[in-house]
């Protein structure tokens, strides 16, 4: 039962993705064609508010619901893994029109063929697990 709050957070996420239309291939492609401010606005507002939020949490040492300090892990410094991994992700994102979260939102929305993309992402993750020792990080 202690997990139920994550279920409702996921429901909220699904609603946000549908109502913002960010789960649509058309919106992703429109962004890559620079034809609308919509997606840039969504990400821009989320990041600006996010920066204010994170800096406020750090400055005022705000704690979580259990009274534990909220800690932020720094990402490991590397060039190739972010540049190459990010580019490969972007190729798939533009092609399928879905990043990992919206894939599942689409499934719930009734786009059942998104299941092919989900299986692909699962296979891609497995592939990474098999070859990650041979990649530049």
């Amino acid at each position: 039962m202690r997990y139920i709050k994550f279920f409702f957070a996921g429901v909220l996420f699904g609603i946000i993705m549908v109502k913002s239309e960010a789960f649509s291939w058309y919106r992703i492609q429109e962004m890559f064609h620079f034809r609308s401010f919509h997606m840039f606005g969504i990400i821009g507002v989320a990041v600006v508010l996010g920066i204010l939020l994170v800096s406020a949490i750090k400055r005022y040492q705000i704690r979580d619901f259990e009274g534990q300090p909220i800690v932020f892990a720094d990402k490991a410094i590397s060039f190739w893994r972010y540049a190459l991994g990010g580019t490969i992700f972007g190729l798939g994102w533009a092609l399928s029109g879905a990043c990992p979260g919206p894939m599942f939102v689409n499934l719930g929305y009734g786009v059942y063929t998104m299941g092919i993309v989900i299986v692909g992402a699962w296979l891609g993750t497995m592939l990474y697990g098999l070859v990650h020792n041979y990649l530049p990080h």
């Binding site: 994550f6 279920f7 957070a9 996921g10 909220l12 699904g14 993705m17 549908v18 109502k19 913002s20 649509s24 291939w25 058309y26 429109e30 034809r35 609308s36 919509h38 606005g41 990400i43 990041v47 979580d64 619901f65 932020f72 990402k75 490991a76 590397s78 060039f79 893994r81 972010y82 190459l84 991994g85 990010g86 490969i88 992700f89 972007g90 190729l91 798939g92 994102w93 533009a94 029109g97 990043c99 990992p100 979260g101 599942f104 939102v105 689409n106 719930g108 929305y109 009734g110 063929t113 993309v117 299986v119 692909g120 992402a121 699962w122 296979l123 891609g124 497995m126 592939l127 697990g129």
Partner: protein, 189 residues
């Protein structure tokens, strides 16, 4: 009536962005982070792939909360389609509709293009490989880069992480290359 109309109308970008920030705050308040794609690693580990790669040997049970979040995302998508769908057609710009025509796609009639996602196209050999390969690149790239749009673009940039900015630039470089260089070969009139 006004409430129903508001619920079924699409949200403007500024409200959508605010809601994503609210969700990120909620996850931090719950003692977790807003990062979706690690679920695929968890799903691999749950399937016993720890036997084929050490990458899947970790305490995946500590990540169950995120799989519950994933299930919620499916339910949220279903709930939205059942009750607050509105027209069900994204309100993209007129300019983009002419881009679509030039790419050999028709104007939107639903949230996903029938040219990719209807049964006929998705289960043709070409269409199936496009969707599968798209997924493989998203899954592979997200793990290689250590995050996706939620983990890097939202959570990482909010924490002013340079690696996340680099990853987001990569997302766009890959996306633009796919859109402008690869698409003309894949889709043509």
């Amino acid at each position: 009536m006004i409430v129903i109309e508001w619920l079924s109308a699409p949200w403007p970008w500024y409200f959508s962005g605010m809601m994503i920030s609210l969700l990120m705050w909620l996850m931090l308040y719950f003692g977790k982070t807003f990062a979706f794609s690690s679920n695929f690693r968890t799903l691999c580990a749950m399937c016993g792939l720890g036997t084929v790669s050490s990458y899947f040997q970790y305490d995946w049970k500590s990540q169950i909360w995120n799989v519950i979040f994933l299930l919620g995302a499916i339910a949220g998508g279903w709930l939205s389609s059942a009750y607050w769908m509105g027209s069900g057609i994204p309100e993209v710009s007129e300019y983009f509709i002419s881009d679509l025509m030039a790419m050999g796609f028709s104007a939107p009639t639903s949230m996903q293009p029938s040219e990719l996602y209807d049964l006929q196209h998705a289960f043709s050999l070409k269409g199936f490989l496009i969707l599968l390969l798209g997924g493989i690149m998203v899954g592979f790239g997200a793990r290689y880069a250590g995050g996706c749009t939620s983990g890097h673009a939202i959570s990482g940039l909010s924490n002013l992480q340079w690696p996340s900015l680099l990853a987001v630039l990569g997302f766009f470089a890959g996306g633009l290359f796919m859109t402008y260089v690869v698409f003309p070969y894949l889709f043509s009139k």
